[in-house]
Symmetry: C2
Subunit: 647 residues, 2 copies
């Protein structure tokens, strides 16, 4: 008998040779139906791999990341089988699972190409094979035999791969009449795959090297239910519509210029105003929470980053040093604001009574990213952090943590993010050597975070070993309207920088102590946050934030003047309005405004001018009747206040 | 007879050989008494230099910059005479006039030093010689004779200077028994100097090269009236008290860190808030004036500055390019915001109806300055311009100019700068070749500026030939409370950048046209402006701007809690208050608050707590009696509104 330990700590005895699937079956039939992969003592295995000694076992379903990976890896085998069937003479190379689905890189026979019009045929063949419920069977193979097989088949790619493997560790995977070189980790059989979609086809160099031959990369995604594929395609379509790069251009929020440089956003007037409103909104909360604003330069001497340790760690992969024309000085574009804030802390001596000191800055930082990695506002080379650093005594960490959490939660709610999980990242309890700072301080800080989180009613996960080497942290994982997860609002405890910068305060014991530092950024960066928000709300921002709150629509050009006058009046009520002065029919104007997602419309014609009343329409809702300007302003103010009155 | 033309265009005939002093005498005896220098056809001469052909003559008095230079240059001769008298064996090197006074670098005899305690003796000897009314007499000397004289005297410094001069162009200047190598430009005689002060003594390397011997630099300043010296010293004392570096530290507005880098200011909380208030104040005016805010990155590709022409012109003297770790890209720290704004203009096509487009940004730029040139916030390496660029049609230049002027004037008045002159810089009418842009556009732009300025009642000077090569401009020369002049608020017309960036708009004629660009910055830079303002108001900022408007002074620690509650209440009225919680007597608290220049004080004791009323004191004025909190808030609001209600 052997002992199997499950993730919840439960232990059960089984005969030696039991498989993960047997264990699943012994727990419940429902579980067994859903198990698609397993790991034994941390190593991925087949669901049919016999277990012969005491072991920790984890069973994975489609809902686990590891489960999806197995599903899509198995699907890549079926894709290869289908392609080999459809394109005899094809040479298979590699075919991994990726974040959303899988691909296979193939060298097509001379003269063959795959285009969109072939996708249907590939999908049909794929599903034909999948429905055969062929079992995946791993088998060891000697290096000599493996090489011989692929040499005979004339597949120089697999030969090259095998040559780099160690004899005795090479395995093939068979299913149906198809065999592939494979390390393992499969579904029980192909029948689990109920739906597939070929997404795309692209060129890709063998081993990513442009000196090598260009292969054909076929992308696909598969699901255990047809319904899930359909939902995925709808989501994808919706995500395309909400792409912040598309919306950012349509709403004239930001742009890029090749001449300014890749990954360096230019905020257009409507975007800059919106960003400013976001900053002011947070700034107001920060002032109330006792933060003080500072402003620091966008460069620092190399010495500053040698002190902070950033230069040693990131220097060679960063924007390179800026030399001066004389005097041999070296500066770096600042990649973070913390070293500057440490220098501000040192401006004058501090006592324990002066703490906490909370220094906040909307600080623009620059980090090099390869041009291929850049993506709209979510991956840029210059971005503005809504940064702050709290310098406090160890006994203040918990209170400060609670306050930061409340601030982050307020911000998320005010921006209509309702679904989030707090991830607490702690030390690896089995490897305490790799962390700096005393055991006592770590214990205190970890306890403080855990306690702080427990005081608020939020979903929490704890990740051991995910702490930074200089302190534990808390991340808010936020789900957007499409169910995609974003990491926003990081709070990080830091014992490292205060020591490196020799920060101190005089304690009540009259001795010198080192403060603890908390880094935090509720938005993360203004750029990334605006991108996520744009996709989350599909461009329909909360009323207090949206660029144009009101569209004034004169029924004809005759009323343009009155419309402009009205726009001036609304300004006095702090309302942002645009006037549609085009020579278009009112119906057309209303339709266009609906598309632009402007929340309110005011129609201006003979009747309105005579009565001095406003004809009000709400986006997506239609006519609200007539109101005086005061009533209308109050309506909007009430809407906004309700929006921001959260807790 | 020859014709002498004076600056006002008046012409007079004189015998050949007439001297500038003769001409002055022929105009008025009073003028002659005050003339201390002259230039003939643009070249500086002695007042006794004979004029032998038709010439343009300018006479200078103490009130002219050139007059002061002559005065102080002559004074350096007398200082050298005095030092030679007091320190036999001294070796003279060079002794120029400087912005405020003059200095002489000397190599003192072995074992001699000059310290503060020697200043009186030097001044007395100086004045003794000055009172002799010795005439300055220029005389030509051959290179051989000049070299011989200084070689015999063992003065290797003068020998080195003479070796670099051209034979036939060398002159000495004698006065009394003293002779010095000199190019000329002196007072009629030493008697004009009625007062002298030795200001300072410092080390200075020969020729500024630290490999050379260190000399002794003696600084002095002299005046035509003793009263003026006294006034100068009072001013100097006052300027020292108002030094923005001193006040900036005392008021905790900003600091510098060697580790961050020289010339890179760190704005402390009170300074950052103050700067933000200034920015918001201007921003509000700008929104009303139709400006749109944008935000652009602090770097740009080298290509951007090659396009703008900045790289060719300033590249080698600037912060050097930033390389990327891969891909071979090159970026530059942005030295100005205009190229970025040009790229934003190009975001979408413009028609004549879309103009003017006014893009504003508080844009931080970086410009290399040698470390020796850095000075507090007035000369830094990174600063934030209150920048804006107006893109308009040629026919809109005048209107836009008037609007910009009104904005600048409003800003200056709101900040209590009452004395300013507008300097219009136009083309050199005799050398039109060196300017770019059509004659027609220049004529239009110059006329527009002149017309715009004439529409407002401001002191104006016109400077021909002072325009930039790409357009005419207007500067506001502002006098501060100590009478020192600062250049603030530049408005610059530009035909160059729109062409280089190929900016265009479709005119009413349906053809493509190039817009005119106007650069403008009312403050200039936030850093320099805050420095000037600090010195102008000696740290006593206008009420709306000052960091702490109210100091709440509890009469004993017992009332600290009530005081803090009051501070919270005042926040609701948008008032900024601090609480003096120290365990000090109330008299001491009042005195300290007076020194800190906090405009209002509220005393909190038994009586105030019981009555619920405030005991109010005004800085520099004393007790204002008791007020309710509403009355007090209104008092301050009224003060502020009166301050900002200017036009």
């Amino acid at each position: 008998m052997i002992t199997i330990t499950l993730p919840d700590g439960a232990q059960k005895k089984y005969d030696s040779g039991v498989t993960p699937m047997d264990v699943a079956m012994s727990i419940s039939e429902g579980l067994a139906r859903n198990v698609i992969s397993a790991s034994v003592n941390g190593t991925k295995v087949e669901t049919v791999t016999p277990i012969t000694s005491d072991a920790k076992l984890v069973l994975y379903t489609w809902n686990d990341k590891a489960g999806k990976e197995t599903f899509w890896h198995s699907s890549a085998h079926v894709l290869a089988q289908a392609l080999e069937h459809l394109y005899p003479g094809i040479k298979l190379t590699i075919g991994p699972a990726i974040e959303n689905g899988f691909y296979y890189d193939v060298d097509l026979p001379e003269g063959k190409v795959i285009t969109d019009s072939d996708f249907k045929k590939i999908e049909d063949t794929f599903m034909e094979f999948a429905r055969q419920k062929a079992e995946f069977k791993m088998k060891p193979v000697s290096k000599a035999d493996a090489l011989k097989m692929y040499k005979d088949a004339g597949n120089e790619y697999k030969v090259e791969l095998i040559e780099n493997l160690t004899d005795g560790e090479i395995t093939f995977c068979d299913h149906s009449n198809f065999t592939d070189l494979c390390r393992g980790g499969h579904l029980p059989n192909t029948g689990f795959i109920k739906a597939v979609k070929i997404m795309n086809v692209a060129g890709a160099y063998w081993r990513g090297d442009e000196k090598n031959k260009q292969l054909t990369r076929v992308y696909g995604i598969s699901f255990p239910k047809d319904k899930e594929l359909k939902e995925y395609l709808v989501l994808l379509e919706e995500a395309k519509k909400r792409d912040h790069r598309k919306l950012g251009k349509e709403l004239e929020l930001f742009t890029f210029s090749q001449r300014v440089g890749q990954g360096l956003p230019l905020w257009l007037p409507k975007g800059a105003d919106l960003r400013k409103r976001l900053e002011n909104f947070l700034q107001k909360q920060q002032v109330e929470a006792g933060y003080e604003m500072v402003i620091t330069p966008h460069i620092g001497s190399k010495e500053l980053y040698v002190t902070s340790g950033h230069y040693a760690k990131y220097g060679k992969d960063s924007f390179q040093p800026i030399n001066t024309p004389a005097e041999g000085e070296e500066f770096l574009l600042k990649p973070m604001n913390c070293p500057h804030h440490c220098e501000i802390y040192k401006f004058k001596p501090k006592s324990y009574k002066d703490l906490p000191v909370r220094l906040a800055e909307f600080g623009t930082v620059y980090r090099y990213e390869q041009s291929g990695e850049l993506h709209g506002l979510t991956r840029v080379r210059g971005f503005t952090q809504d940064d702050a650093h709290i310098f406090c005594r160890p006994d203040q960490v918990k209170d400060e943590f609670v306050k930061v959490m409340d601030l982050v939660l307020y911000v998320l709610k005010a921006l209509h993010f309702e679904d989030y999980t707090a991830q607490i990242s702690l030390r690896d309890p089995h490897d305490r050597e790799k962390y700096i700072g005393s055991d006592e301080n770590w214990a205190k800080a970890e306890a403080a975070i855990i306690e702080a989180v427990s005081e608020r009613d939020i979903k929490t996960v704890t990740a051991y070993g995910e702490a930074a080497f200089y302190g534990p942290k808390l991340d808010f994982m936020v789900k957007d309207a499409l169910g995609r997860s974003w990491q926003l609002g990081t709070v990080q405890v830091d014992y490292n920088l205060p020591e490196r910068f020799e920060l101190e305060y005089v304690g009540s014991d009259n001795a010198k102590h080192t403060p603890v530092m908390i880094h935090r950024a509720p938005f993360g960066s203004m750029e990334r946050f605006v991108a996520v928000l744009l996709e989350h709300c599909a461009g329909k921002f909360p009323l207090w934030l949206t660029p144009d709150q009101v569209a004034i629509l004169p029924v004809s050009e005759k009323y343009n003047h009155e419309a402009k006058k009205l726009s001036g009046l609304l300004k006095n009520y702090d309302l942002r309005a645009l006037v549609d002065e085009r020579n278009e029919k009112i119906g057309r104007k209303i339709r266009d405004t609906e598309v632009m997602k402007i929340p309110y419309m005011l129609i201006v014609g003979e009747q309105e001018v005579n009565s001095g009343k406003l004809s009000v329409r709400k986006q997506g809702e239609g006519d609200l009747g007539t109101l005086s300007i005061e009533e209308f302003a109050k309506l909007i103010q009430d809407d906004i206040e309700a929006d921001l009155r959260i807790n």
